[in-house]
């Protein structure tokens, strides 16, 4: 246990609590108890079960059969594991920075005193709430080769569009662009953060003669880093589990160019009836995401600024 703790502290740069008062200890557990109980009741069991399934052959109906590490041995020579992990990583590493940048810029613009601000905010938020049942058709109409809006628009400019979703080179970038439409979720988190910055800071800076860019750089940016950090971590975790777009819009194709890792996992579980292998795959993704998250945490002390340092 203590190695795990040491590891946790090393990567997160949190130091062990040197003196913890008995009372604060109890209070800490009490305040956290809703999640701790929920974890124990609803989450831990299924996670343990998934761990067992990784060592079993399970077709969703005959009882799981223990087959030792055979699933894990198969992972090592599965070309689709490698290719789907690659596709997913490209998706995440391109999409996450773009979403972070876009939502930060728009949130900054929307954090001013503008006429019609509420309407603007609602419009930017709108694409992220389109119901899943409707969106696939909408996107196909936007990206269609012959008739899509994008290609129609390009044609009017005298350009030849591409076969966005049917070409191995453009299918993944198209899905990334599609996902950018939904940046409203992370945008409103930034907005909430910006609204939480005390106005006194800006007023004081104004008195000192700071312009809008300086005010942003010296006040908004440092105070927003904890939120940025949050959006980064959550963006990574979410993007690496991307699934629906690949399933509904491209079905993993063409030539597996959009076969995301979780789509591959889903196929193994519910289409190939190999839930054991799917469980083994899930632990690969788990480790990958965990390592990336820990790296981000480790880097955070260099660029995330907290007004209140976490008490040690």
């Amino acid at each position: 246990m203590s190695t795990v703790r040491r590891l946790a502290w090393r990567v997160t740069r949190w130091r062990p609590a040197l003196r913890t008062s008995g009372r604060e200890n109890i209070e800490g557990w009490l305040f956290a108890s809703p999640w701790i109980l929920g974890f124990a009741f609803f989450t831990a069991g299924p996670m343990v079960a998934a761990m067992f399934l990784g060592f079993a052959e399970y077709d969703l109906i005959t009882p799981p059969k223990w087959i030792g590490s055979a699933n894990y041995a198969r992972l090592l020579r599965d070309p689709l594991l490698v290719s789907s992990l690659k596709v997913t990583s490209i998706y995440a590493f391109v999409r996450v920075p773009l979403v972070l940048l876009l939502s930060m810029v728009v949130a900054t613009l929307l954090n001013t005193k503008l006429r019609g601000l509420r309407v603007y905010r609602t419009m930017f938020y709108l694409p992220s709430i389109l119901p899943a049942a409707a969106v696939s058709m909408l996107w196909l109409l936007v990206f269609d080769h012959d008739y899509g809006f994008i290609n129609s628009f390009l044609r009017q400019l005298g350009l030849n569009g591409c076969n966005w979703l049917g070409d191995t080179r453009y299918a993944l970038p198209s899905l990334i662009v599609m996902s950018l439409w939904g940046f409203g979720g992370s945008m409103i988190i930034y907005l909430a953060g910006m609204q939480s910055i005390p106005t006194e800071y800006y007023e004081a800076a104004e008195v000192d003669g700071a312009g809008p860019i300086q005010r942003w750089w010296y006040i908004t940016w440092p105070l927003m880093t904890p939120i940025l950090f949050y959006n980064l971590v959550m963006g990574l975790i979410g993007s690496l589990q991307v699934f629906t777009e690949g399933r509904i819009i491209t079905n993993g194709g063409p030539e597996n160019a959009t076969l995301f890792f979780v789509l591959y996992l889903y196929r193994n579980a519910f289409e190939y009836f190999k839930l054991g292998y799917a469980a083994a795959l899930s632990w690969v993704l788990f480790l990958y995401v965990l390592i990336l998250t820990l790296l981000v945490f480790r880097s955070s002390s260099a660029w995330v600024y907290y007004t209140s340092e976490l008490k040690r």
């Binding site: 557990w29 999640w35 909408l138 008739y147 909430a192 609204q195 105070l223 939120i227 979780v262 209140s308």
Partner: protein, 291 residues
Amino acid sequence: MSRGSALTPRWRVGYTVQKRLARALTHMALLAMVAVLFVPAAWMISTSLKAPQEVYLFPPKWVPSSLRWENYYHALTIQPFHIYLLNSFLIAATGTLGRVLSSSLVAFSFARLRWKGRDILFLVMLSTLMLPSQVTLIPQFILFKELGWLNTFRPLIVPMFFGGPFFIFMLRQFYMTIPSELDDAARIDGCSSFEVYWRIIVPQSGPALATVAVLVFQGRWNDFFDPLIYLHERMKLTASVGLLYFRNEFGGAHWPQLMAASFVCMVPLIVLFFSAQRYFLQGIVFTGVKG
């Protein structure tokens, strides 16, 4: 720059041509982006008023030849959609209440209190998000079956009262932007931890809590998979599941009706977001907190 500006006369004095220009440019940039972002939603509304054979016309028709409002009537009456909307509201509203309350408490513990095991548990909490739900689906389903909760709202509501890692982490980040001098001062005045939470942290976190509420409500409202597998009886289904019925087993659909029902499903979210902005704008009045 922020909401306080209107209260400060100095800002009005500094209202220069340069500022007007900047404002005009901002408007233009925002409008251009809105135009691009609005394409899918606009097409959705346009499709919802079309005759079925008009949907795939080329070149695409933005304004239908005749506005078929009856699409809305048929979409909402072919199934007991009013009951579905009510169920959705019930599930989303109680879920939001539970998630916001529990997550804000847990986040306070992770952000402001020191206790043994805190850092490890925080990592454990984040790691629960990292395992794809597809593999825990069946064990989780068996668990709720053993609890006798199938075909009830309980699997959709009860877990909400036990915090959500996504939102606990988010609120923790927000709480950590609140200067800790405030708590220290309050503690010197003899406040207990709960009083610090209730009197200092919560009032300072209006925008964050409103955001969490909006995001949770949106998530619960649009989630179709949990209601789909846990609710079996027709009258217990939710609007998000109701939308799926417009698509047939071959991937086709009655597109105009699907778009009409989808639009109706979006309206409560739009209204919620629009009105929740009041709380975003509340912001922080620093001097209002007596240390």
